[in-house]
């Protein structure tokens, strides 16, 4: 049994079907990327997994537990933390208050101090800015805060939605280094990205999404070498 399993998942907005018959799996301890063009359904996929958008059909499970019957706010306690697109920090709360909200689950509250130490160890910048309003920080710092907030619940699986969007190239590189680091620390990672080459360099496997369907999947090196990816995304 895989950690996260999707079978024939469909979902959409109103009459528009954004995801069609998606089947995929994420194993414990691996990092997996979902790549694809704008509008391929990548963000929708993460929203369905975290319960923000209900699936219209199919099966979804985390460690064998059915996710479709859970309301969105119960998904976090199965061990899935979602860092949403555009980060969605609480702008007029301090960095540390944002991190506290990441530990809102009663089971996470007791371990708040040690996890705070872990997150501040990962991101010393956040510790420097702990009393600053999150909305006043740079994009890179906000991304760190959003990832830190997700780590505060002590998740098993982290969903990252386009963490590199809008960041300077140097900061983008730091974000990808971080993906590698948290995977090495034992977190399972599912990341959605447009920066195809860079993300494929740090993950184990990837799925290529195209117009709401899985077009291709495999080890990242294989995908990088494939004609489909080279032609469409790398312009080779």
């Amino acid at each position: 049994m895989s950690m996260l399993e999707l079978h024939g998942v469909c979902a959409g907005y109103g009459g528009f079907r954004a995801l069609n018959d998606i089947s995929m799996a994420v194993e414990v301890g691996e990092s997996v990327a979902v790549i694809g063009a704008n509008g391929a359904g990548k963000t929708t996929l993460l929203r369905v997994i975290s319960g923000m958008l209900p699936a219209a059909a199919g099966r979804l499970s985390m460690e064998g537990q059915d996710l479709r019957t859970l309301p969105a706010h119960k998904v976090l306690s199965t061990g899935i933390a979602h860092v949403p697109e555009n980060r969605h920090l609480f702008p007029r709360l301090t960095v540390e208050q944002n991190l506290r909200l990441g530990a809102f689950l009663p089971s996470a509250r007791a371990r708040f101090p040690e996890r705070l130490d872990y997150v501040y160890g990962l991101f010393p910048r956040l510790k420097e800015r702990r009393l600053q309003f999150a909305g006043t920080m740079s994009g890179g710092e906000q991304q760190m805060c959003a990832i830190g907030r997700a780590l505060m619940s002590g998740p098993k699986l982290i969903l990252l939605d386009e963490p590199s969007t809008g960041l300077a190239p140097v900061v983008v590189q730091q974000v990808f280094e971080l993906v590698r680091k948290i995977r090495d620390d034992g977190y399972t990672v599912l990341i959605v990205e447009q920066n195809v080459t860079q993300v494929l360099a740090v993950v184990d496997r990837a799925y290529l999404l195209s117009v709401g369907r899985v077009e291709m999947s495999g080890r990242s090196a294989d995908l990088l070498a494939s004609e489909a990816v080279q032609k469409t995304y790398l312009g080779l």
Binding site: S50, G51, M52, P71, A72, H73, K74, V75, L76, S77, A81, H82, P84, H88, L89, F90, P91, R92, L93, Q97, R100, L101, G102, F104, L105, A108, R109, S153
Partner: protein, 290 residues
């Protein structure tokens, strides 16, 4: 009475500060609810009125000790706040603001009419007289002093609760980004209900302090409602610190105006100032420009 810098003037200023405590406390719950739920409880002063009746009957009819009667009143209005949210506000959360205003406005008249039918129009009083404290030649009623102290303690307590407890932080967070709350493992519906209970409970606390100073009658909300809204809007709707500052300003206009001219003039000057400020700073003293 002439308006000069004498002891009467000082007494008026100090009484203004004490009156500000009550106005600030009354505006606190309304600001909290608006800041988080983004809906104005037009019927807020009517919740206070119901709370006053609850305390009156628990104390005078059931013969319960006054603190217990006050606790019952606070609990009752807290539950009323939750009921108001679940029955009236929740179905209208995504409706146009004017519809939300009209709906809570309807509740205002409903509560007023229900109170008139149930309790009649006579004035009631719990008959507790706390007397006055004297400072030199000045006199200050204990009711006002207690009210001011409780209001100040409540504001500081609420501030601490919102910044340092998990539930409080979640309520603040909800006011800034309600869509992301499920990703924190928080149920927005329960947080809204908790906020409404808190807002209703604060109306009950206001009621507990008001029964010490005022008679109880079904239309008392009409006397205080406009003042509370003026304080909230002047401070910047949803801004609790702004509400406190605005309460201080408005109360000074009322008490100094009353002392220099006549009570009615105090209110007229306060409202005139309010209207002027709406031209100069429509977002309120401490409100963010939107």
């Amino acid at each position: 009475m002439t308006c000069s810098l004498d002891i009467f003037f000082l007494e008026a200023v100090l009484n203004g500060i004490l009156l500000a405590g009550l106005l600030a406390l009354l505006s606190l719950g309304l600001n909290l609810v608006f800041g988080v739920v983004d809906v104005v409880w037009i019927c807020y002063a009517e919740l206070v009125m119901i709370g006053m009746y609850a305390i009156f009957f628990a104390y005078s009819t059931l013969d319960l000790p006054l603190p217990l009667a006050m606790l019952i009143g606070i609990t009752f209005t807290a539950l009323l706040g939750v009921a108001l949210h679940m029955i009236v506000i929740r179905p209208l959360l995504d409706a146009a603001p004017i519809n939300q205003l009209l709906a809570t406005g309807g509740v205002l008249f409903l509560l007023q009419a229900a109170a008139t039918l149930a309790f009649g129009i006579e004035f009631r009083n719990i008959g507790v007289h706390l007397g006055s404290a004297s400072l030199g030649d000045m006199f200050f009623s204990w009711g006002r002093i207690i009210t001011f102290s409780v209001a100040l303690a409540t504001m500081l307590g609420l501030r601490y609760f919102l910044r340092h407890s998990y539930l409080g932080l979640a309520i603040l967070a909800l006011s800034q980004d309600r869509h992301v709350m499920p990703l924190m493992g928080a149920d927005s519906r329960r947080l809204y209900a908790a906020t409404s209970a808190l807002g209703g409970g604060l109306a009950g606390l206001g009621a507990a302090l008001m029964v010490l100073q005022f008679d109880i009658y079904p239309q008392i909300g009409l006397q205080f409602g406009p003042l509370i809204f003026m304080v909230c809007v002047l401070g910047g709707l949803g801004n609790m610190l702004g509400g406190f500052v605005a309460a201080l300003v408005i109360a000074q206009f009322i008490t100094i105006g009353s002392s220099c001219f006549a009570t009615e003039w105090g209110y007229a000057i306060a409202f005139l100032f309010f209207i002027l400020m709406m031209f100069i700073r429509p977002q309120g003293l401490l409100g963010a420009r939107s």
